[in-house]
Symmetry: C2
Subunit: 265 residues, 2 copies
């Protein structure tokens, strides 16, 4: 049996933050990442478009021989998890379910906030899963579409970004949330600012931090999958569009420069 | 002979600002607008990707029967004008050439600034055309990728946007530019802020303001094209992705709600 890599998919470069968590936690495994940078961002687009693009992305990874996939973006995981599971007969790992379990388990007053892209917030995916865990939990959401471009331009620490974060959180603070889910991988890079503006009494839940445990748990329960996976610490990056900007962002997230292959569109 | 509409193309909704100028100035003509919202934005992507997407967009408009096209975005016009002219045998109207002529003609000290997307700035299209007009003109450029998302989120008048505009213009002000080209259609909606931060001694040139005259001049010189164009004041909008957000943005730019057709991807 040919050994295979784990496929990791996102709409752009944000999923590299997830990939980094995976290679830090299970460094032996081989990964192939596909970011659809030619059509990024997904988070302001129509749900049907997001589902179609995700199915195309997963199909591309499967054509490269992967036998399991990680959905490494919140927009993708919120909108397309069910479609991917229905269409393809491979294990699918996503981080919304474990993040929701953690949030509901640790929330003191069951008042949970969510920030993410417009598509993630409007999908209601987090809300639905939270209510599956605890129907009494109050969920308050805010779309913060400006944070992704600010982070991608390297403006993390600028005063304008702090002011915008503060404004995004006003409606959630007014609801006295005790827990805040960072429903967009990019926001991991803004954790300190978000914590400062949300207030120290608010517990931040970063789904990115749940992914490695989720994958490890799956592999320990499914030895038949685990034994087919190659473990040579190989990492391959593929994107649908590569620019100097993408290479720089990828290098700054992974803290190392990797060659990026371009897939034909 | 069947009468035909004028095709107007852009990567997203920004070109609606150009379309608005066209229908205000030549209201009798029929227009069909195609915005590639499913893959927007183009301005941070690779030149080859931008050219491929533009050729596909123009091909789609031609399949609907248009006999001439307006390139209604700066990124598209900067990168793909030559490719469109080479590939398709139809008249192509763009606004960079007339904007450059106006800038060079009116600049007092021949010190011209340009702001736009990374792709527009890096293409060197404006710079090359300026030097064709006057090789001695100094050109200074700055990419301002944050302004498009701020404008699309309706943050035109917020203090954060004014602070970011000020920072974008610092390198150009340091070069003592006397003229500033607004090399992105979205910036038309930020004119007052840009003028305030650039200083009143700086003359702003908005290419969007050149498009109607450019088209009128072309039609007066090419009566054989003009007589094939239908003139029933019909406007049709087609986008590759439609969301409530896109409909709202389109309505706010055109000051009227139009139905938007979705083309299949």
């Amino acid at each position: 049996m040919a050994l295979t890599m784990i496929g990791v998919f996102d709409s752009g470069i944000g999923g590299l933050i997830v990939l980094k968590a995976l290679i830090q936690n299970i460094p032996d495994y081989d990964f192939i990442y596909f970011g659809d940078t030619a059509r990024t961002p997904y988070g302001t687009k129509n749900p049907n478009t997001i589902i179609d693009y995700t199915l195309e992305g997963i199909e591309f990874l499967l054509s490269l021989g992967v036998k399991m996939v990680v959905l490494a973006g919140n927009t993708v995981a919120s909108l397309a998890t069910d479609s991917v599971q229905t269409r393809f007969n491979v294990p699918v790992i996503e981080f919304i379910t474990p993040a929701v379990k953690l949030a509901v388990k640790t929330s003191r007053y069951q008042r949970i906030g969510l920030i993410g892209t417009p598509a993630t917030v409007m999908s209601g995916a987090y809300e639905k899963k939270i209510h599956n865990e605890n129907p009494a939990t109050k969920v308050y959401s805010a779309a913060c579409p400006l944070l992704v471009p600010l982070i991608e331009e390297g403006w993390h620490r600028k005063p304008e970004t702090k002011m915008i974060v503060k404004k995004c959180l006003i409606p959630l603070k007014a609801r006295q949330i005790d827990t805040l889910i960072l429903g967009c991988t990019h926001y991991t890079l803004l954790t300190a600012t978000i914590q400062a503006k949300a207030g120290k009494q608010v517990n931040l839940i970063d789904p990115t931090g749940c992914i490695a445990d989720s994958l490890k748990t799956f592999l320990s329960k499914h030895r038949e999958v685990d034994k087919t996976l190659s473990k040579n610490s190989i990492l391959r990056l593929v994107m649908s569009d590569v620019t100097a900007r993408v290479e720089k962002l990828a290098g700054s997230i992974l803290k190392r420069n990797f060659p990026i292959d371009v897939c034909s569109r």
